[in-house]
Symmetry: C2
Subunit: 331 residues, 2 copies
């Protein structure tokens, strides 16, 4: 069958632009034994893909000429694999395609999406990888206690917003960092953060001192760069720093010097988080966050584009922080 | 009485030199109530003092015109404080002086040195602050398990050598990093390290890959700078990094960028160590390390200069790594 797909034309220089990608056609053969043909319902756009385009991520590199990899919500059309029944819905590594022929390895790593997940795109958001990232980082690495002051960057994104809300539910005081007044208003208004600093217009160091005069007990870092450095200057003694994402570096800029003296001065514990280590707890996370979602205690938002051909533009917006919530493309 | 003392003339530019200090005379009055007059037997030279000379340390800054602060082994001559009996020996914040008039606060923070400490200068070394630094960092922050590969920098210094030997006793494989073949030979020959990399003549990254092909489980960092960066590139998954000292920065050079991506990639836990947090466990450390010392299971060495006027030169040698073991000045 004829399908549409998106190829990386060249390695982006800095932030990706639409011309780094091309939309083209391809032809898929019928699935052989062990394979399944799926229709892509929605693509998940995630910052780590930019890192993979520079071969700097734990996941496989994305080289010029490759169809862009990445996960999506898919529905099985034809299956020659016992795990996938026709009509069922999964999260799978389908790549940026209208349809995909999944091999046995990809099928075995796919995750089923049951009818209780409403809307099903939550399986790409707070009930999927971003949710697990937030949940594992907060539950297992942050060592949070009621009354702690937690700061989280990319506060209105699917990871940051979930971290902040889990922290609020655990009795922490939560300060977000985001770029733009609209994102900050959402974080404090909808997600219930105690405060949110718009680093586009305010001096982050001044605002951190104002909102966390006794210091930051937990910093959940989704961005790296100057924001990481600025928050580390304001750590309380005994602080925990969870290093989760480095979007400030993914576009290819040099790492910002993190001065180890700040870690010593705060007797801080800094831990690196890789979500892949925590897949075995996906179901546990889904039970807990699913209950919060159903009870209306945990908010999220989706930044939805329509049509495969819109994917490069949506990804470009994501990588300069112009998305509002989990970036998705509905096909 | 007339005494000798050493004043900081100017803030050192980079590594300190003798001309940054001047030796002069002063006059001490007799102790009043709450004070004690002591004779200084030995001065402890420690890298953190350089940092204090640039006002970048947790301890009080040392400004031009000040007598240089720092601890020493002292004997009480005349006491007007109930805690200090004449003739007894203590570790106290005496400063770089031949004799000192200790005030009540300093006396209350001083630590007695009993006759079982032989030689008494061990109270400034493996049974004092360097020993407690090594012991607390290794016992409480490194989370060591038998079979772990531990790397320690400044391997022949009082902290590094003690960390390495405690790790050996705990069943770890120990790789030192030191500057110069003589220090490395001491670490492997006397202190029993499995290997020691002379970073003056070898490529540290190449040697780390050779000696730790499966990665570094624990890095105990006494130096910061490029060495910290190089070891972080070779961390095993789940590694622990103890940040203890930053001698590479103390002389005033800019912090070397520590790339947070290395911490994420290794899912590492990085912790800052401040020895002052662990004073309450000094006695526990002394019992344990004292037993190792008496049993001949823990080696150390002292780099001894003679006479107060030699102190600036000895300190300058320490800060460029030309000491061999714990730097002391005997008066």
């Amino acid at each position: 069958m004829n399908i549409e797909q998106i190829t990386l034309v060249r390695t982006p220089q800095g932030a990706p632009i639409e011309d780094d990608f091309s939309v083209g056609g391809a032809s898929l053969s019928a699935p052989i034994k062990g394979q399944a043909l799926v229709r892509v319902l929605a693509l998940s756009l995630d910052p780590y893909l930019r890192s993979a385009m520079s071969s700097r991520h734990l996941s496989a590199a994305i080289a010029p000429g490759d169809v862009v990899s990445g996960e999506g919500l898919v529905q099985v059309l034809v299956s020659q694999h016992p795990r996938m029944a026709p009509g069922t819905i999964w999260v799978a590594a389908c790549g940026w395609r209208s349809h995909a022929l999944l091999d046995a390895t990809t099928i075995e790593q796919a995750r089923p999406v049951g009818p209780e997940v409403q809307p099903p795109t939550l399986a790409l958001g707070v009930l999927g990888m971003p949710g697990l990232t937030a949940w594992a980082g907060f539950k297992k690495l942050a060592d949070a206690r009621p009354g702690d002051t937690l700061v989280v960057s990319a506060a209105s994104g699917p990871v940051g917003a979930t971290v902040g809300q889990l922290a609020r539910l655990a009795g922490c005081r939560v300060i977000g960092i985001a770029g733009g007044s609209e994102k900050c208003a959402w974080a404090t208004g909808e997600a219930g953060f105690d405060a949110c600093i718009d680093y586009h217009v305010h001096d982050l160091r001044v605002e951190l001192r104002r909102h966390a005069p006794s210091g930051v007990d937990i910093y959940f870092d989704n961005v790296g760069g100057n924001v990481l450095m600025a928050v580390c200057e304001q750590l309380a003694v005994g602080a925990r720093v969870v290093l989760c994402g480095l979007i400030a570096q993914y576009n290819g800029s040099a790492p910002v010097p993190l001065n180890p003296a700040l870690i010593i001065r705060a007797r801080a514990t800094m831990r690196g988080l890789v979500v892949y280590d925590h897949w075995t707890q996906l179901a546990e996370m889904q039970v807990e966050i699913g209950a919060y979602v159903r009870a209306g205690q945990l908010r999220w938002r989706e930044d939805i584009s329509h049509g495969l051909s819109e994917t490069p533009a949506a990804f470009a917006r994501l990588m300069v922080g112009r998305n509002k919530g989990k970036a998705l493309v509905l096909l």
